[in-house]
Point group: none
Chain length 141, copies 2
Amino acid sequence: MKTNLVFVLLVLGTYFSTFAQQTQARKSEIKADVVEKGLIKVSIFYPYAEGKTFDMDYYEKSHMPFVAGLLGSNLVRYTIEKGIASGIPNTPLPFMAIGSFYVKSLPDYQAAIAPNRDAIRADFPKYTNITPTILVSEVVR
Amino acid sequence: MKTNLVFVLLVLGTYFSTFAQQTQARKSEIKADVVEKGLIKVSIFYPYAEGKTFDMDYYEKSHMPFVAGLLGSNLVRYTIEKGIASGIPNTPLPFMAIGSFYVKSLPDYQAAIAPNRDAIRADFPKYTNITPTILVSEVVR
């Protein structure tokens, strides 16, 4: 009986915190749409292949904050995602990870990155042996 | 009995303080950032190649709203981006376009898409001749 009470409270707690997270995500959605449209997005894709490695912890805590710090007020925000699976059955995972910078100006991004390119590249082996693909895109929606 | 009561109170306390912390952290974060952490993102990539075409207008106004409409309250938001250039000099554009759905539950996404797969595929030729790559990822940041 007492054990059951503890279990019920645990379950309740989990539901409430999950619900709170979801509500929050929806609230911020509206702002994101307004702010992002028309921005430039620079995405760094890390394609999956056998023998490739990726240290998400280092990427999240060290590499991305380092590069983001170079961009100053041109940076609106940056995102990190971890590849889980291919969305097409029986095909390999396309990417192990993707990092994206949302910036106001592409020339300003390039001007900030160019003098630091060697330092950025020197950081790569600390978290991955993958050669990334980079896409510059425009946020349509 | 007393031990169990203490345990229940400890558990409750932990949940409430965790909840309070998260709420506070999110409040201050919202001003500068969007909270998507922990969501599932399903991205559809349209790789560029010679002879490939992509009608962004149809994609934005018809295809994406159609698929988004199938996802119900599981969908937090969806985004569209248009590829402009490769971020690595002298390499071809990686993707002509990317569409992404941010959802709370992957099983719910799959359950909503599965019975409509044929209808979704039948819509492809109306805007592109590209075979897409699909990535399921977890939003880390």
